[in-house]
């Protein structure tokens, strides 16, 4: 059995499960974001449920529309705050950051866990060696009422990453390379595991980027076998957390194993409006950048700020280029201030906004006008994702985004900050 199957079995109170089987599972934690909480509470009532079955499993995070700028959101958030109190839900985070950034930070994600969330990027958490997956609102409302929900046991595909990274190449470029080679449906309904010597050396922030991107290959969850790096990360954040290690029995537990040599990868960019349409950053130098969008659940961690600030230090944004920066969490924001990274980015001309999703999916400030071009370290270049459906979104690594904001056009990081 694969570790993912074992985790699902453990949460279904079963000894074993078969790939393809549908089982009822009880998760460890369920994240409701602002919209998810409002919709699920409403649907729970419509389903005839007056009580949340297991309030201690619920974590409510206001990140998409907090602080609200539309009255409909302030009204619904007020209702949600009242609902949380009524239901005895005590884990509540408003303004502390994006759910998928704070879940690992605060120890809600841990190895062997089963996590649901009302957002597709819930998969991010699976970098810690857990099963983490997004759900719809009726889905979560049913879980709120009953305390369980159904899950199909996925087949697992493993990407073995080996070789040496070239300079300025990051986990994000690996994810874009996978999209380029295997498409936006590289892993429909599947579990996606990352393994191999490159992953063994990878810090947690980079693992989180890999697993964050699996939803945009169609996956149900990511997975990285917990190791020393995982154990240290969890111990630093929630020292009292006990967790069960699950391991995969053999290579025959995979539907497919794919070898990927990262030495071949250069700084990459997904061009509008298809994540699998990927080019070398150095081949796109004629693309003018109007706005760089920096942050989100993909690229809003402290390591992203360190990479960007190293490139932006002592430099200015191109005169025609603006940059929206939204730290992924309060912890990231504070740390970036302590390290002087926010200083560097603001001096370069960036606008630093609140913690949260930023312009991604049109949540916070920084909407694009028709025909404008944006480069972002977020995950999606879907049409209309940052405002106008007639704008263009290019997806790249934090380094490529920072460098392109300085150059005012798409460049490879070395063109701005030579080694």
């Amino acid at each position: 059995m694969h570790a993912i199957s074992k985790i699902i079995a453990a949460h279904a109170d079963r000894k074993g499960v078969e790939v393809g089987e549908i089982v009822n599972v009880v998760p460890d934690y369920v994240m409701l974001n602002d919209r998810g909480a409002a919709r699920a509470a409403d649907l729970l009532r419509q389903m005839g449920g007056d009580k949340v079955f297991a309030p201690w499993q619920i974590v409510v995070v206001f990140d998409h529309h907090y602080p609200p700028i539309r009255q409909q959101d302030s009204v619904s958030q007020k209702k949600t705050r009242e609902w949380i109190k009524e239901q005895g839900i005590t884990k509540f985070h408003a303004g502390e950051g994006i759910g998928h950034v704070i879940f690992p930070e605060k120890g809600y994600a841990f190895p062997g866990a089963l996590i649901f969330g009302t957002d597709s990027h819930t998969v991010t958490n699976s970098a810690l060696g857990c099963v983490a997956t997004g759900m719809g609102h009726s889905d979560v409302a049913s879980y709120l009422a009953l305390g369980y929900n159904w899950l199909r046991v996925p087949e697992v595909i493993r990407f073995d990453l080996h070789g040496q990274f070239r300079p300025d190449v990051y986990a994000k470029d690996v994810a874009l390379r996978i999209a380029q080679l295997y498409g936006e449906d590289a892993a429909p309904y599947l579990g996606v595991e990352f393994a191999g010597p490159v992953v063994a050396k990878m810090q947690m922030s980079e693992r989180l980027v890999l697993c964050n991107m699996v939803i945009d290959f169609g996956a149900k969850t990511g997975y990285i076998q917990p190791d020393e790096i995982t154990a240290r990360y969890v111990a630093e954040r929630s020292s009292s957390r006990a967790w069960t290690p699950y391991t995969t029995d053999s290579d025959s537990d995979y539907g497919r194993i794919v070898d990927l040599d990262v030495s071949e990868i250069e700084p990459l960019v997904a061009v509008p409006h298809d994540l699998s349409d990927v080019r070398g950053a150095s081949t796109l130098s004629d693309v003018r950048i109007d706005e760089a969008v920096f942050g989100t659940c993909t690229g809003g961690r402290i390591e992203d700020f360190r990479v960007a600030a190293a490139i932006m230090k002592g430099r200015k944004l191109a005169p025609h280029t603006r940059m929206m920066v939204n730290p992924g969490s309060r912890e990231v924001y504070l740390q970036a201030m302590r390290e002087g990274l926010i200083d560097i980015m603001m001096q370069a001309g960036a606008q630093v906004g609140i913690t949260g999703c930023g312009p991604c999916s049109g949540c916070h400030q920084g909407m694009l006008a028709p025909a404008e071009n944006s480069i972002t370290n977020a995950s999606r270049n879907f049409r209309g994702r940052f405002g106008s459906p007639l704008a263009n979104i290019y997806v790249a690594s934090s380094a490529t985004v920072a460098a392109s904001a300085i150059a005012g056009r798409i460049v490879s990081p070395a063109e701005v900050a030579p080694h």
Partner: protein, 176 residues
């Protein structure tokens, strides 16, 4: 379950941002509100053109991306009889099942259906037919649990029933 309807065709990798754009998100919806924004990311006039009983035929990876349930719920509300594609985004599939909308996997179907074709599907017998061209194919079997949820009218009805059973079991005099 037997479905017959006129087809609307869409391409590959149609994400849920296009099926139900974020600007139409609301904390609660009036009846008919979601249906009035169905597919407007691709075709602004779609909500006025689509009729109850029509079916949607997409390309590979239809409904990928964001978890938004509105993508499936707006189709259900517009009276879409079924959504058919060679493959679907996982969350979209799940949301369709949970709202009770038949989500039908049929390899190569996007090559076999043109806009306006009359499509017939029988989920129990497991076939799909294009009544205009005569094309017919077997459907890959659907998980019985999923089919049951769709036939029951979605996860809301299932949840209501389980809650009711729990209440009865907990009531005094129930013998437990």
């Amino acid at each position: 379950m037997h479905i017959k309807g006129r087809a609307w065709t869409f391409g590959r990798n149609i994400n849920t941002d296009l099926i139900y754009p974020k600007m139409w998100f609301r904390p609660t919806y009036e009846p008919g509100e979601m249906a009035s924004h169905l597919m407007v990311g691709i075709d602004e006039d779609f909500p006025t053109k689509v009729r109850r009983g029509d079916v949607i035929v997409g390309g590979q990876n239809f409904g990928c991306g964001s978890s938004r349930e509105e993508a499936a719920a707006s189709m259900m509300e517009a009276g879409i009889g079924a959504v058919i594609a060679p493959s679907f985004g996982r969350l979209f599939t799940r949301n369709c099942i949970n709202v009770g909308l038949p989500v039908v996997v049929s390899p190569g179907i996007d090559e076999r259906v043109g806009e306006g074709d009359e499509i017939e599907i029988d989920l129990a017998k497991g076939f799909i037919r294009n009544l205009r061209s005569g094309y017919e194919a077997r459907l890959p079997p659907m998980a019985p649990e999923s089919l049951r949820l769709i036939q029951d009218g979605g996860i809301a009805n299932y949840t209501r029933r389980v809650l009711e059973e729990r209440r009865k079991a907990a009531a005094p005099g129930s013998g437990r």
